[in-house]
Every structure is written in structure tokens, then in C-alpha cells.
Symmetry: C2
Subunit: 331 residues, 2 copies
DNA sequence: GTTAAACCTGTTACCGATAACATCAGCCTA
DNA sequence: TAGGCTGATGTTATCGGTAACAGGTTTAAC
């Protein structure tokens, strides 16, 4: 039913090897034969056999996506990422295995994509003996892809300043992780450049915590304050807190979230947020990993901030203006 | 590095074939040899080679999960499902390909899991020439796995009755699909059995639509009304509408959602909802599909509502009481 | 006690692709 | 014109499994 290399070879009156070469090393075949082979391939709708390829190359053609985070409630963020990874992998005829804490990591693979890695995970990650790329910046010299967190909070803070908010407070995530440091730095630098006093408060990444803080510290916040948050979750909490205290959004109080995956749209009013191109980023990690596996690292991409051998790709996030900042009605 | 059948065979002093038989047809091998082989396998930590298996069996060991729905904003519902599918597939050494509208369906596979199928999709689905199981009940005689939708709305409606709400209105999804019919029937039957008049309104599955309806028809709703919704999305809209109109939840107005994936927890107050065991269901579809592929259909499971050859597996949903129905504080 | 059936284990071929090597033609050089 | 080189194509072996068949031994039957 499904055409093999052999079928194509017969139809084109050449050997299997020639067909294989047309696919993998076309420069070694004369144009004449190439035409014949191409014609045969399209005539038979040839699709290379994934398993045979893997077996011959002594690889698995399996990439594992390891999600290191409690997936009690599945994060839309990771789901989106997964879609991106899956798409890129499909294009290159690689299969995906999703590894969570529950299903142990059994069986071989050609490479790992790891997301949600925390400090304590690196001992374990070090033992992996396959090409690995992390999703999320880190200070352990691992290759990674992430959005430009510092630039993201720069965007958010600048927007808050431009919108004329007088006090701008940062709600961060209580986590000693690289991405959080970068976000805080983006906020601090932007504030200082404008001669303002930064103010940072930190929470576990739950809306209830930020909401509670808003409500219990309500009298400390003067109208005309903007809350720049390190996640949409925290931003939703802030929004609820303000609503419970009958504050006015966005005229008295502005809110800017971070991530732009699902939660921002679910919120009411919808959040102004720093949106990461998560799906694109997912595709990119996958593609970089495949490049790394194939030892061919063109590394000529515009995005690449690559001086040493380390791969560090940062995607620029984008400020999405919606209903929790003043400018909403003007744009 | 990685042990093969051959390595195991050598260590156990038998032929490859014997080892293979120990794995696939253990009844054909004497206990004595089996012990030897087992010992060798554990000593070498033998893991079967996925690709070789696939090649020898003339299969792909790839299962495609086709998500037929705009994934503009990725639904946490599908993400959870995907996790379940991935887990079961990993256990059986099958690889997963996620197919969305964007990445066309190229390449062979051993079977399909299709979710989000609508009326108009079935022409296309008919052409698939591999074992297929749908996620979601259907009237096209396809095998499927779903939650028991009728039972779900029975649970919801009964709860509303028990909680003493006088008017109970059903907010349905404007879709001529089987699952929606079942949910409406569960509501209607339960209402009629209690001698009440059913009342159904339908919307596109967006919170804005149900919210808008609540606000524009506010005077029609008497206090002591419960809204039984066909999705958590609609329920969130209802919640917002009531809040905007300053209605009291849950004393004057109750809300019960459906799905129990993520949205119910994000809502404020948190939704009472009919929760589907989505992850478990995902694992089950995968397992059933693998059974179907291997032509071995034990079909002795308790869940199976199987009279003909058709596979119809229904999972019982569960009512999760939270803050949008009265009983919340009592439990 | 011969013969066949049953049972266990090993040998061979094959799945579909690829690397490495072999072959053969054409061309250049001395 | 012989020898060697280059470049294009075919042949062989191999990846790690499994089905089908072959060979050898034990058991059963008449």
C-alpha cells in the first residue's frame, strides 16, 4: 500500500541507493537521474519510513519533552509550548514523548527538551547523556530558549510610565530563578532610568496570594498606581483584589500581566499583558535541538545571541494592550 | 551502550529468537530458560528498540492525535487529554504525533484518535484507512470514549433541586452535536421526573455570550434560580453577569458548570462543576486504540457499554461542589 | 518397537533505510 | 596508449527485532 524506497527505485529504473542519495546527498547524483527519481517519488507519493530510518541511523528519532512541574492542573502555558514542539518535530519526522513526573523516563531517545527546571533539578539533568536544550533561561550554562524577560518588563514598565501612572509597583514570583531575576531587573532598570523608586513585592505564583495582598494593604495604594506583574496569574489576583475593594480599573489602577497565554483572555476585564510567542518558541527549541543532534549548527539566525558555543535564543515578547491599562480606549 | 536482544542472548547463552520469545510468547519457552533470560535482561537493563520493532512488524508505532478545533487559544481541556494519551502511549512504546489544522496530516501511522469532530468532518474521517477511535460521543457508529454526558447533567440538575433552587435554567451550547443533546436530555429528564418545567437557552461557547444574556434578561430571573451550564466557559459568563448585576452567589443564584478543567478553578468564586476525568479518559482512548490495532479486544472492562462490536466507553463524571452553589459551606 | 505427533530451540530471511565498499566509465597525463 | 584518477552508480552488510521454517528430542500410540 505504502510506497518504499524500493518501489521508487524500480519505477525510476535505478537502485535503491540512488534514490536514497537523491534524498540525502543530492549533489552526488546527476540531474538527469534526479528528475527521474523525483517523478517516481511524486507518482507513488513516497513517504520515507520513519522506523527504518531510525534503525539504519542507529537513532531513535524520539525526542522527550520533560515537564518538571506539578501538572495537577495542566498549565495552558505548557500545552501551548507542547503544540509548538509537536509541530516542529512532525515536520522533521521525529516522534514526541511527553514525560511528566508521573510517567517515569524509560526508554532511549535522541534528545531532551526540559521545561520548568529549578535549581534542584540540575544534578539530575547533568546525568542526561543526550543533547539537551532547556526551555527557560538558566545560569548553569545550558543551552536554552526563552523570551527576553528583561525586555518584557521593560515594555511593561515603560507602558505604565507613558500612561501616566505615578506609582508603579512590581509583583514578582517568589522564586530564585533566572527568569524572575531578569524580569525584576527589567523593571528596576526602567524605573531608575526614569528617576523613580522601584518597589517589589513577591508571592508564590497564585492569584489568591496577590489578591490577598492587595486587599490587606489596600490603604497603602494611592490611586494612579500601576501593578506590573511577573505572571498573568498574579495579575488576575491583583485585578480581583482591586475589584473587591471597589477600585477603578484602569483609571485609578493599572495592571499589566506577563505570559499572554489563555489567562489574560479569561480575565475580566481582559488583561494588558506582555505576551510571549510560546508556540513559536516551542518550535524553535525543537528545531535547535534537532540541529544540535545532527551536529550541524548553522547558527546564523537573527535571534541568536550566540558568542560562545552556547545556544541562547531569546524571543522578543510583545505588549498587548487591553482593558487593564488606560490607553486601551485610545488605541 | 544500550543493550540489544543480541547482547541479552549472548549473556544468557541462548539465541536471539529465544529472548524474543520470552518477551512475546513466553508460553513457548521452558521456565528454566526463561529464568536465564530474565536474569540477563535485568542485568543489562534491556529496553526493546522501538524502531526495530516497528520495522519488523511493518508498523509505524505512531498514533496520531487529531485535534479538530481552532486552537487559537489552546484549550486546557485538550491539553489535559493529550497528557493522558501521551502517558498511555509511552507505556506501550508508541509514539505520539499531534495533528492540528495547521500541520497537515503527512506520513503513515497505526491509528488515529480524533477529538472535536463535528458533523461536517465525518466525510473526511471516513476515508481514514487505519483503526480510529473518537474522543466524544457520536451518532455515526464510530467507536468512542466520552464521559457520560447525560449522567453529568443529571448530577447537576439533581444537585440544584436538592439545594432548593426553584427555577433551574439550562444554558446549552448552540451545536447540533451528540454530546450537547445528551447533556440537554439529562437536564430535561431530571426536571420532568421532578415535575418541573425545563427551560433551555443556547449560545456559542463563549463566556461573553452567556454573560450578555444574563445582563440583558436580568429582570426575568427571580432570586432562587440555578443556572446549569453545558460548559465552564458559559458558567463563567453567567457568574460575571450575575456579579455585574449585583446578584448574590450562591444564595440568590446558583451556577453549575461542566468539564472541570482549569476554568472552574480560575473562576472567582470557584465554580461548582461536573468534572470529567479527562486525563484518565485520554489514557483509556489510547489503550482501546492499541487493543483495536492488535486485534485483541478483551472487552471485559466494567465501563464498557458494549453490545455489538462497537466500542462505547463512558466515564462517569463527578459533581464537584464549590462556591457557586449553596451547599458549599455545609460540606 | 517403530512412527508420528508434540514440543522446544536455533537458523534464515526480511522489514526499509543507509554507510561503506566495489565497479565501471570517462578523462587526463606521460 | 597504458596507468591512474575522478565521479557516478550499483552491491553488500547492517541496524534490532520477528515470522516462518528446520532440526532435534521427548512423548504418545498402535
Amino acid at each position: 500500500m505504502i510506497a518504499t524506497l524500493n518501489d521508487v527505485a524500480k519505477l525510476a529504473n535505478v537502485s535503491k541507493m540512488t534514490v536514497s542519495r537523491v534524498i540525502n546527498h543530492p549533489e552526488q547524483v546527476t540531474d538527469e537521474l534526479k528528475q527521474l527519481v523525483f517523478k517516481a517519488m511524486t507518482a507513488l507519493n513516497y513517504q520515507p519510513n520513519f522506523a527504518a530510518k531510525a534503525l539504519a541511523a542507529n537513532t531513535t528519532r524520539i525526542i522527550k519533552l520533560i515537564i518538571l512541574e506539578k501538572v495537577d492542573t495542566v498549565e495552558p502555558y505548557y500545552a501551548t509550548l507542547l503544540m509548538g514542539v509537536a509541530q516542529a518535530l512532525n515536520e522533521h519526522q521525529y516522534a514526541l514523548q511527553v514525560v511528566t513526573q508521573k510517567n517515569a523516563d524509560i526508554g532511549d531517545c535522541d534528545g531532551y527538551i526540559i521545561t520548568g527546571a529549578r535549581r534542584e533539578d540540575f544534578d539530575w539533568i547533568n546525568q542526561l547523556n543526550r543533547p539537551t536544550i532547556l526551555f527557560g533561561e538558566n545560569r548553569h550554562n545550558y543551552d536554552y530558549v526563552d523570551s527576553d524577560n528583561k525586555y518584557g518588563t521593560f515594555l511593561a514598565t515603560s507602558a505604565a510610565i507613558n500612561d501616566g501612572y505615578e506609582d508603579i509597583i512590581f509583583f514578582g514570583i517568589e522564586l530564585k530563578e533566572s527568569f524572575e531575576y531578569s524580569r525584576e531587573r527589567g523593571y528596576m532598570d526602567t524605573m531608575q532610568k526614569d528617576g523613580r523608586d522601584p518597589q517589589i513585592v513577591r508571592f508564590g505564583n497564585h492569584s489568591s496570594e496577590s489578591q490577598n495582598y492587595i486587599e490587606t494593604h489596600w490603604q497603602e495604594f494611592k490611586p494612579n498606581t500601576c501593578f506590573v506583574c511577573s505572571s498573568d496569574r498574579l495579575a488576575i489576583g491583583v485585578e480581583r483584589g482591586i475589584q473587591h475593594m471597589n477600585g477603578n480599573i484602569p483609571d485609578e489602577f493599572g495592571i499589566i500581566g506577563f505570559d499572554g497565554v489563555f489567562l489574560d483572555q479569561i480575565a475580566d476585564p481582559k488583561l494588558t499583558t506582555v505576551k510571549q510567542p510560546v508556540m513559536t518558541m516551542g518550535s524553535k527549541v525543537a528545531e535547535l535541538l534537532l540541529q544540535k543532534i545532527n551536529r550541524a549548527l548553522p547558527m546564523t539566525e537573527d535571534h541568536d545571541v550566540n558568542r560562545s558555543n552556547r545556544i541562547e535564543v531569546m524571543f522578543s515578547p510583545e505588549l498587548i494592550r487591553r482593558q487593564t491599562t488606560r490607553n486601551y480606549h485610545r488605541s
